[in-house]
Amino acid sequence: MTQPDGREDQRHHLDSLLMRESLLDKDVRRSTEAPVFRMLPDTHVLKIGGRSILDEGREATYPVVEALAQCLDTHKLIIGVGGGARSRHVFSIGLDLGLPTGVLAELAEADALGNAHILGTLLSPYGVVAIPPAIFGHLLPLFIRTAPGVIFTGVPPYALWEHPPEIGRIPPHGSDAGSFLLAECFGSKDLTLIKDVDGLYTRDPKRHASAEFIPEISVNELRKRDLETLPFDRVLLDLLDHARLLHRFQIVNGRQPNRIARALAGEHVGTIVHKDA
């Protein structure tokens, strides 16, 4: 290839559609829009709250475990867990010590891994195993055809490479985000976030009795409402904007464990947040 100034291109190229192209060029990026292959279309991704379910101990956790066990007969489950109160604690110590976002994200993975093993222990009679993150993604298709369900650390492996947030220093990609990204990449059927509230409210229902329930809402509407708090990672709104395969997720109250099977059957039993058309 001859350059505008007459020099020869001395780069050794490999023949491909994107050869010599700057991947930063807008037209090049647009040209790469194409339908996406679904790897695991028959699987369901669930995220079990660390603080909302597991940290509450036997009273909240055992009924959820039982509900999940019943679903395993008919559904393939990929279960993410968060770090819960221990992650919050390590954040507060880490912040006090002056550690940056990436380090906080690295530390939080350990709490999620601990919770994955806790849930893995309780689901082991049903053949469900917790799998460490280093091999989880590559071997997931094998695991999910071999076991009725698998558990992973919902926190994505961003660690030191976590994005600096717009406000403050808390890592933006928590276990809700990790579960979403996994479901989107593998083309899972749906994503259900199991929490200890019925879904999304106009305000935190635990602090404000007047809070109103929102059964379904789009990303743009939700942004417009500018709610003080959300029962899921805020970054999920951006992830939904750019989703190709997963166009919605549902928040379901795990303290009403019978709703879990209903959610997996496609029923509307909590709050559905969906991408704008």
């Binding site: 505008p4 109160a85 912040l95």
Partner: protein, 271 residues
């Protein structure tokens, strides 16, 4: 988990919501500690540099060796031509962004390993993300360390707004290392003098930009920019590394001048 040892903020972090903007704001009041304030992070381009082979790479290796003992260098690698090939095959097959991210990782790993062999006789190690806890030791002992530039997001890579190519590639991964460690500098070693108003390889009217803020750069809305867009967004949110330098590594001496803090190439900074 009541704990009287926790600060007031700590208490709220344990009990409150991490989506509460008022709480998040408080977590940013103190600046983070610079972890490796004397280290310089370098990014060696894939398509722009390593793909040129011996003619480009050997002089750069010599210059890196000359700077050992004078400047600590954390060296990340780009992907380049083979990453583009893998992306185009993957796109044609309909593979999702997360899988393309895995493929890109393998290519930047090959480039890191090649640089590693060229620097092996100087005792410079190549480390994977899982070995980053040893990075401070290697840096103190040998003065440099090599890693692959792709961030380890793999299957968890966010989709881009447009298209299917992973948006957070090697520029972003290397930049984030400079941010998290609070490094002294972030230097992108490419095959152009720096930033231009268009791709100088394709447009002879492209004008060189010596220094520019992220806000100005975004306002120009250029068709093509020398670094990945997310780096610009992240610089605006960054707590430590709020400027980057892009230099032409094909010119002997440029790397040394950049390490010495001289104003060469293009400086892009967040206001």
């Amino acid at each position: 988990m009541q704990n009287e040892l926790l600060t007031e903020l700590g208490q709220y972090l344990v009990e409150g919501s991490l989506t509460d903007v008022n709480v998040l704001r408080q977590t940013g009041q103190e600046p983070p500690l610079p972890i490796l304030p004397n280290a310089n992070v370098l990014k060696v381009g894939g398509q722009s540099f390593i793909d040129r082979g011996r003619a480009a790479v050997f002089p750069l290796i010599d210059e890196i060796v000359e700077n050992l003992g004078r400047h600590d260098m954390i060296i990340g690698t780009g992907g380049g031509s083979r990453a583009r090939h893998a992306y185009s095959v993957g796109l044609d097959l309909g593979l999702p962004t997360g899988v393309l991210s895995v493929l890109g990782t393998f290519v930047s790993m090959q480039n890191a390993r090649m640089l590693n062999y060229l620097l092996a006789k100087h005792g410079i190690p190549f480390i994977e993300p899982i070995q980053f806890p040893q990075l401070p030791l290697y840096l103190a002992e040998r003065g440099a360390v090599i890693f692959f530039g792709m961030p380890p997001y793999t299957f968890w890579h966010e989709n881009p707004g447009v298209g299917r190519i992973p948006p957070h590639r090697t520029d972003t991964g290397v930049y984030l290392v400079s941010e998290v460690y609070g490094a002294r500098s972030m230097i992108f070693i490419k095959d152009e003098e720096g930033l231009y108003t268009a791709d100088p390889k394709k447009d002879r009217n492209a004008k060189f930009i010596k220094e520019i803020s992220v806000a100005e750069l975004k306002a120009m809305d250029l068709q093509d920019v020398v670094v990945e867009h997310p780096v610009l967004d992240m610089m605006q949110n960054a707590k430590n590394r709020r400027s980057i330098r892009v230099i032409n590594g094909l010119v002997k001496g440029n790397l040394t001048r950049a390490l010495e803090g001289e104003d060469i190439g293009t400086l892009i900074y967040a206001d």
